[in-house]
Symmetry: C2
Subunit: 474 residues, 2 copies
């Protein structure tokens, strides 16, 4: 089904800089049939667009679909989830009091292994794509499982349901139980090649879906497997790489014992050529300063996953500290170490976790003077977490300048957001505004804060990826 | 409108002990016209109830209304919000990077002062009651403002909309700006008496609504006002008392400078007779061991407010530590220092904040041996936060044994909860299950965890207070 040219009208909000949102009101954005933004006009309504913009674009009125935001609604870039395990989605919220390593054995490996059943894989993957689209996630960096056919199915479903995605077959030839492990480094590489070939054939231009080289994490991979994955990455210089790093203390100790010759966890990946500008490192909670500098020097990116930071008691990642060192960061839901598939929930938790970072080592102290100012800097603002959720995420997944904002020439990955409006009698007017109540006096920045703190999928009225409408709330 | 006798059928879940939920399936609960539970029967359906239970109760079939939970749904006790500022509701989510004392001046006092406008008060209070009812809050301990007529209006609205509530006129004769302050201790007491008289006249039996003596917090009250409020509490031995304690470091330092002769923050309240078994202390983040022991000895209760702990960077309250010392705890949303009016969201954040407590002083360490076990104990479970949200809260607000569970003779304050059910194709069946997806294989404890982690007002299908249906989701 070919797209029509589209005209979007109303208020547009996107990230101009890390700590600054740009608000375009009474604006118009034209998106062509390829899903590309070809005009961004301020002080422009439908009439003016037809009279002055369409002729310039060579558009006839009849072939344009018009989508106008209602009063109080706004268009916002689609969210980018830089880290989630599609195969773990059914387990969201289930982890008891476990921490990382026992959580893997108790909850995670059995579920992932069960997805080699194609019917179950289709059910779970369909659900996770629909669920994340409904929360405004237009691009996701997915871990599937070790199983090739179902990993390929995840990529096929992303294509058919219209979600932009990185899809990775998980590589792991040690640590996990016999029933869920690659039998050798060679079989792991062969299976990974098979999955890469399938996904590249399904979307040769990588217009929506790309394969991603996915060593689960260092402790799950033999030295031989890591080396061969590094070689595979060198052989495919356009493919992204994703893995985990430094999530919790027991894991770090395990890496130290497994790779005694490497100077650090980051050095393990670096030694085999897996620490690159195309590498997405999930967590990075406990990196040393030397590791952070190495990550920055290599241009590798970090997926900050605040929900699992808290839920698995891994620790509170120091995002400001990473940003200050020049490490590019985005947000990940980390389903199901994270309990929610919503990037908005991750953004909210990123604000809160940064408060806990600011309390560390000085419980209860407000702090004065320099430490007080440092403490305040560590706190992420609403604007900053929205940046991480969009523009930051785009850079993390290798799509900077292509998605994550509303610039000319970028692709239209967007969501239409609407909040609840309270009338004079204290009732909510109009369609379901979810849990967000706007009284009318709020400034736009205050509305954005209300959305971040109490918003959910009810506020995401409609979602587009590359110009295609992929979700609409009934 | 007189109530009919009611028969509730299906699954009932409530808290048996701090760490234990009781599941009653295929059960029946009979609630009489006064809203009291008069029969709890297991292995009982409508037919059996009519044949064996109704005759015992002297009920004729025709005069009984039957409410049956659908497959997968369950009845749960209504939530008890032990601390929220009704007057601050419009500000939820709005606090920037502020901490307690600057947040009060920038965001809070101007809004509270504006509610002396009766139309605005009616709008805001109607909305907060409807909002919290829709989230399953059947009982709330409210702070209003210093204004008597609008405080009384809040109590009247609780009565007419059917929410059980403690309603407090806020007492404060110092610290805040001129435009929002009691002019003297005497006027503060007189205004408080006027509000108490109004609320007692509106609900003489205190069947739903009770006045609560409410010194805002020690720094807002002159020594004279605190003394006179202590005397007022002694004069009204059935009335509850609520205030704040030890939320953040700057506040504690301020109390020390204002009350140099008292040994501690808790001692300030104790010296004037405000630390009693009827006292609700919000926050208690930084109590010393001596203060916690004093609080326990006096039988005062703590309202734990995890959302504002994190949001205002106040610190992470050590709930296990308080419980271990014999301090009774419940949950508060602390609107709008807390960003959400939902007790379920507070329960979720209580789990997460307890993880940050377990990380304190040993960032990143898993901990082994004794510290490892201690660390694990500090983590609250799903069962425990649901206890705090119901039975714990009931004890905090002085309603232990009357609400918070489904025992014989207790009043029917309850919510009907339904979760989303994913079908084989990955679509969600039936009515809106909100953000919770159940695949079918989950145990009941796992369903409860999914509800706590991803549930919202969409899962609360219907709400009753004292037998009266007060909210139904369309």
């Amino acid at each position: 089904m070919a797209l029509k040219n589209q005209l979007f009208l109303g208020s547009f909000v996107h990230c101009k800089a890390l700590d600054e949102l740009e608000y375009l009101h009474n604006a118009a954005i034209c998106v062509d049939q390829s899903g590309t933004i070809v005009a961004v006009e301020t002080e422009c309504d439908a009439v003016k667009a037809k009279e002055t913009v369409f002729p310039r674009l060579g558009w006839g009125d009849a072939e344009v679909e018009v989508v106008a935001a209602k009063e109080g609604q706004f268009f916002f870039p689609g969210f980018i989830d830089t880290h989630l395990h599609a195969s773990q989605y059914p387990n969201v919220g289930i982890f008891g009091k476990s921490t990382l390593l026992d959580w893997l054995n108790t909850y995670t490996f059995p579920l992932e292994a069960s997805l080699s059943d194609p019917a179950k894989a289709r059910q779970v993957y369909t659900r996770v794509i629909r669920k994340t689209l409904s929360h405004g996630t237009t691009c996701a960096a997915y871990y599937a499982t070790i199983d090739v056919p179902s990993t390929n199915l995840l990529a096929d479903l992303c294509l058919s349901l219209g979600q932009r995605a990185l899809v990775g077959r998980v590589c792991m030839d040690q640590l996990s139980p016999d029933y869920y492990r690659d039998t050798s480094a060679e079989t792991s590489i062969a299976a990974t090649r098979a999955s890469i070939a399938h996904i590249q054939a399904a979307d040769p231009a990588m217009s929506l879906v790309r394969p991603v080289i996915t060593p689960r994490f260092a402790p799950s991979c033999s030295a031989a497997l890591l080396r061969q994955l590094g070689a595979l990455a060198a052989e495919h210089p356009t493919l992204p790489i994703q893995t985990h790093i430094s999530e919790n203390a027991a894991e770090i100790a395990l890496v130290r014992s497994l790779f005694p010759e490497d100077a650090s966890y980051a050095a393990v990946y670096d030694a085999v050529g897996l620490l690159t500008p195309r590498t997405i490192l999930a967590h990075a909670v406990h990196l040393t300063a030397a590791e952070a500098d190495l990550v920055a020097a290599r241009g590798a990116k970090v997926s900050h996953c605040p929900c699992s930071n808290s839920a698995l008691a891994s620790g509170a990642a120091r995002v400001r500290w990473l940003l200050d060192r020049g490490v590019v960061c985005g947000l990940g839901t980390d389903v199901s170490g994270g309990y929610s598939a919503s990037v908005l929930a991750a953004a909210r938790q990123a604000v809160l976790v940064s408060r806990h970072v600011s309390l560390a080592g000085d419980e209860g102290g407000e702090g004065e003077g320099e430490r007080g100012r440092e403490r305040e800097r560590e706190r992420l603002s609403v604007e900053e977490v929205l940046f991480l959720a969009t523009k930051g995420g785009a850079e993390v997944v290798g799509l900077a300048g292509r998605v994550g904002g509303f610039g000319l020439g970028m692709e239209w990955d967007a969501q239409l957001v609407g909040l609840g409006r309270v009338d004079a009698a204290g009732e909510v007017e109009g369609p379901d505004g979810g849990d967000v109540d706007v009284f009318g006096w709020e400034s736009w920045p205050e509305r954005m804060a209300k959305w971040v703190y109490n918003g959910d999928d009810r506020n995401t009225k409609r979602v587009w990826v590359k110009g295609r409408s992929v979700h609409e709330r009934r």
